[in-house]
Every structure is written in structure tokens, then in C-alpha cells.
């Protein structure tokens, strides 16, 4: 192109320049294309199918037809309301526990770990080297009846405290609310810790010196400077924990009982065992909309639009 610009008449030079600017204005769209195609084929189109399925009636033998049968939603919600609220409750508990464990952990790695920083970060990610299923099965072993953990809880009578709180039953830890929330917290902890670490690590330590200079005790400096500046990480971490935890069905299946069934398990069962596709699709939709609404309210409340 440069040869052209040198050699030929001014008119064609302008032409060359126009092509170049047109090409550069198309570049962003070209870069977006693969992602958009992926979303279209694997998200948007299936969503349309799912929406359509949720409004169909019929049976597996006779086939389904779109009849705009909204009653499916009402029936599904009436039948599975407890599993719904339970899922959100468990996910919220796991998120809160995740913050309580993940924040100090991320803080320690970011500010206090010194040369062990990278080793600790690897340790946070290490569980991902085994599969989600195996990790959850490991918790079965940890909490198993007659195992050391149960024995400790029994010996210290903590098991009685938990039983009276309704977290466990039958003098065991397995097959309980406690076990499911433990599993959820454990499995999603890295998703909480890593964004928190990333935003804490960026907090300029000189700001804390300045806060100290301006009459803040270390605790006040944390509350007024470090905490607000780590909000983007906190918001990202809670979302990355809460959203998948809401729809999770492995933890409640492997660590829980029939009294701890979560909505993910119900959807799984409706799709793959009961083969009631409209109900399964309707439940999926309700779950998705509930999460979107909760997250929208949360992000707005957190007021971190400009920081995220």
C-alpha cells in the first residue's frame, strides 16, 4: 500500500486511505464475531427453545406442541417453592461464609504473605486440579459417620448445638443442611478469594500511610480505605459464588438428604428422570429470572458501577 501511495496519482492515494480507515472501523466487529456466534448458537437459540418448551403441552410418546400453557409455571412454582427458597438460602449462606473465610485469606495473601504469596495463590487454585465431583465426594469421607470430624463434634457437644439449630440431625454430620452448605462454601471459595485478592492487591499501601497520617487507627484505615477500595472484588466474588451456588445440584445430592433438595436437583430430575420437559424448562426460567433480579438489586445497592 505504501508503494501505491508513493507511485501513483493523488486520487488513488485518497482511495487507499479510505480503504484503510474502513478496514479499521470494521475491526472491532470482526473481533466480536466469534464470541457473538458462540453466544448465538449456544445461548440465545437454546434459550428460545427452552422458552418454547416451557409453554408446550403433550407427552413424550405423543410429542409436544406449543399451546402457550402458562399454567405450567404456576404449578411448578406451587410444587417446588420450598426447594426454590432453600436454594437461595443455601447459596446466600455459602456466599456469606465465603466472604468470612475468603476476605481474611485474600488480605493475608495480598499484604502479609511476602515471598509466600505465589505459593499461597497456587494453593488456592490447587483444588481445581481435581474434578468438582471428586472434591465433593471427598467431603463425604471427611464428614462420614464415625469419622474423626463427627467424633470431635460429638465429644465437644457441638453436634447438639447444631442439632438444636436444625443444621444437622440424627447425631451425624452427613446428609444435613450443614454438610451441603459446607460443600458449597468449599467448592466456590476460590471464586471468592481470587477476585478479592486481585482488588486488594491493587490497593496502594501509601494510601494507608496517608490515612494514618490523617488520624485513622489501623482499623479505621481498613474500614475507610481498604474495604471500599476492595468493593469491586467483593462484588465480583459474591456474584461468582452466589450465582452458580443457586443452581448447584451436586453438593445437595452427594452431601444432603431428601430434606435438603435444591432446585438444581429438581430441574435435573424433571429433565432426565421424570422427563417432564415443560416443568423443567419453566423452573429453569424462573431460577434464571430470580437470579438476574437479585443480582441487579445487589449491584445497584453496592453502588460500584464505576468501580467494576
Amino acid at each position: 500500500m505504501s508503494a501505491m501511495a508513493h507511485g501513483v496519482a493523488p486520487g488513488s492515494q485518497t482511495g487507499a486511505r479510505t480503504t484503510a480507515s474502513q478496514r479499521s472501523s470494521k475491526t472491532p466487529y470482526l473481533l466480536l464475531l466469534p464470541g457473538m456466534l458462540w453466544l448465538g448458537v449456544f445461548f440465545a437459540i437454546p434459550m428460545v427453545f427452552l422458552a418454547s418448551t416451557s409453554l408446550q403441552t403433550g407427552s413424550l410418546e405423543q410429542g409436544y406442541a406449543l399451546t402457550w400453557h402458562v399454567q405450567t409455571y404456576v404449578d411448578a412454582l406451587q410444587a417446588y417453592w420450598p426447594q426454590f427458597t432453600r436454594s437461595i438460602g443455601y447459596a446466600a449462606s455459602a456466599t456469606v461464609l465465603g466472604v468470612l473465610i475468603g476476605y481474611p485469606l485474600a488480605y493475608a495473601i495480598a499484604f502479609k504473605a511476602g515471598r509466600f504469596k505465589n505459593i499461597l495463590l497456587v494453593l488456592v487454585i490447587a483444588p481445581f486440579f481435581t474434578s468438582f465431583l471428586i472434591r465433593t465426594l471427598a467431603w463425604q469421607t471427611i464428614l462420614t459417620n464415625n469419622g474423626p470430624v463427627v467424633k470431635f463434634f460429638q465429644a465437644t457437644h457441638l453436634i447438639d448445638v447444631m442439632q438444636s439449630l436444625g443444621l444437622t440431625s440424627n447425631d451425624q454430620l452427613m446428609a444435613s443442611k450443614f454438610a451441603v452448605i459446607c460443600g458449597l462454601t468449599y467448592n466456590f471459595l476460590p471464586f471468592m478469594t481470587l477476585p478479592l485478592y486481585a482488588s486488594l492487591e491493587r490497593v496502594d499501601q501509601r494510601l494507608l500511610e496517608a490515612a494514618g497520617d490523617l488520624y485513622s487507627s489501623p482499623f479505621t484505615a481498613f474500614r475507610k480505605i481498604t474495604l471500599p477500595l476492595s468493593m469491586p472484588g467483593l462484588v465480583a466474588g459474591t456474584l461468582l459464588t452466589f450465582i452458580p451456588a443457586c443452581g448447584d445440584y451436586i453438593n445437595s445430592k452427594l452431601l444432603g438428604s431428601t430434606n435438603t433438595t435444591m432446585i438444581g436437583q429438581v430441574i435435573d430430575g424433571q429433565f432426565l428422570r421424570v422427563l417432564d420437559y415443560p416443568t423443567a424448562a419453566a423452573l429453569s426460567f424462573v431460577l434464571m429470572i430470580t437470579i438476574v433480579v437479585l443480582v441487579a438489586v445487589y449491584v445497584r445497592r453496592a453502588g460500584t458501577e464505576e468501580l467494576v
Binding site: 500511610e209 496517608a210 490515612a211 497520617d213 490523617l214 488520624y215 479505621t220 477500595l229 468501580l307
Partner: protein, 401 residues
Amino acid sequence: MTEHPLMIQQKDRSDRPDDSGPATADSDLRLVGLTKSFGSFTAVDDLDLTIPQGSFFALLGPSGCGKTTTLRMVAGLERPTAGQVLIGQQDITLTKPYQRPVNTVFQSYALFPHLSVVENVEFGLRRRGRKNTRTSAMEALELVQLPQLANRRPGQLSGGQQQRIALARAIVNRPSVLLLDEPLGALDLKLRRQMQIELKRIQLEVGLTFVHVTHDQEEAMTMADTIAVMNAGVIEQLGDPAELYERPRTTFVANFLGQSNLLPGTVTGSDGDHVVVDVRGRSMRVLRSRCASQDGAVWFGVRPEKLRIVSEAAAVASGNELSGTVTDASFTGVSTQYLVRLPWDQEITVVQQNDGTAPLRPGQEVTVQWAPEHGFALDADQDAHAGEDLEDEPVPAGAAS
């Protein structure tokens, strides 16, 4: 200039009923035997210093001379290895930074990015539970002439504006001592000159004690009432800017503040108020009060702009003169800087105002003259090149963020 709400006038202070003690010492900053070692390296070595209340004091020195460490010990960000920091009679050596009546303008400004400008300025007042913090903060913003930026975020401001906000955030607390850590280091030259004048105005207006750390000798001389020149953890010389410039006591000060020509000489006698120094066979006279050393071997010094250059033919014999050959002439606008080679192969620098006299060319034989009250004599034990070429050192990394 209108009277500012933050202003403390000298007479008001002495009229205060509780002001019963000696007028000068009620909140002077005193450093007593202050020492800080990092391992085997002594950053600050047994420093004794009294900074009077209400003065603009500069700690001047090259990077690594211990000036910032001294400042951080006053702020409480560094714990001294030995010695004391006192404000008036109160020993604050071991108190935490947030317990000290001291505020700092940091080199990096360290403004809180998640708070608005006015919230930044209010920060210290709110931590101490003061009332009407918003009003005080706005007054401080008016003092630095940026009240219109109150609701912006620091990230939206230019470097110079951030610098003023950092100043307002510190001043609003009315500290006993305000520390400025290379506050202008990250600004460009023109803005720096402007802020120097501004800082001096604000200091006069609020009447607080300013302790200013800098490596820029011009900045220190422009603003400070008193300068302490620091080198290798100790104070080389303390005095007002003119005193330091006109009568340096060490070769480090002679070279670090401006430029000096130092010639090897020997004291041979005295003549009334003058000391007679032999420089390579020529007798020079210098005022006794300008001699840091009055016997034996000395460095005989004279500033380049104090030298008068006359061509060989036009020379009128006087006491203090040397002859040599011009080896270089560089025109700098208001003045021309010449290098003159002396018979013993030493080159001296001469700065001549461009006042219309014909310029000299390299190779020309000249005579250089100066008045006896312009020379000075220093102890010959010191390195004649100490402190040279240090003033233009780059600001340490991280300062510009």
C-alpha cells in the same frame, strides 16, 4: 490579600490568654540525637535540630542523604533507632502516626481515589470528630484556590491540582508541623515554579510550621526561611538561603548549592580583617568571617558569577586576580559561561552577564578578578568535588504516580 479564616496572625498568637510560657518554644519541633539505622547502614546519624514554630524549614540534600527518613520519623512512619522527636515539651517519639499533631503532603499525593475532593479534605477532621467539617474543608479548598473542584474525584484532576488538594487535606487539620515530602517532584518545571510561590504564600497566610524535604536547591532557596543541607545522614550546614550560598562551610555545600570554583591554597598570614591565602604563588585576600578554616592548607573558593573577566590588555592590577586562557564559551541568554584554564591546568567557571561587553573567544588570554569579600576558604581535608552533579538526580521511581 483578604484575611483568611485559617490565618493565625503573629500578634493574635501572643495575645492568647493561655500563652504563658516563653513565646518561642511552645510548639517548636525538636529532634534530639535522632538516629535511624537499617542494618549496618545509618540513614540518619545523631541529628540535633530545632525548627521554630511558624517557620518554613527546608531539609535539602541528594537522594539517600537521610532527609526523607528524617521526615518519616517526624511523621511516625519510621521508628527511630535512637533519639527523640519533641513538639514543644511533648515527646512524640513512640506515638503512632495517627496520634501526632503532624500532617504530611506526600510525594505521591496519596489522595483517596474513592472519595471526592472535599471528602478527601474532610477526612482528617472527621476522624477527630470535628464539627462543620464541610465548611472547614471548603475554606481550605479556597485557600488553594480550587473550591470549584470539590465534588470531583482525584482521578479527574491534573497533577498540579492533586498537589493542591493534598496540601489542603493536610493544612485543614491545622497541625503543629506540616511535612512536605518532595511535594513538587512530580510536576513539570513551569508548574513547579508557580507552586513554589503559591506554597510560600499559603505558609505565610496560615502561619504553620512547614518542614519541606527536597533535593532541588533552587526550590529550597526560593521558599525556605532556613535550610539544613543534609549529606550522608548528617547536617552539613544550617542557615538562611543567602548565608548558605554566600558563606558555605563545607565543599559539599559549596558545590551542591550553586557552583563553586575551588582552588588549592595555603594560609600564609593575616592583614587586618583579611586572611592572606597563597594560591600557587599568588597572594589572595579573603574576609576572616568567610573562612571556615584559618590556617594551613585550604580550599580557596569563589562563585562563578562573582568573577570579573577582563582581557589581558585592559587588566588593572589588584589583589585578587588570576590570569588564564579562555577554553570554552557557552551563551545561555542572560549570561555567558566561560571556562578559563589557569597556568596549573585547572579550569574555572566564570559567568558574565550579557550587558553589552564584547564576547570573548576561546584562546583569548584573560585576567579574572574578584573582590576580597566574595571569596571563601574551606578546610582542605575535604573532597573538592563533594556534592557536584547531584542536584539533577531524577526523582526516585514511583514519585510520579
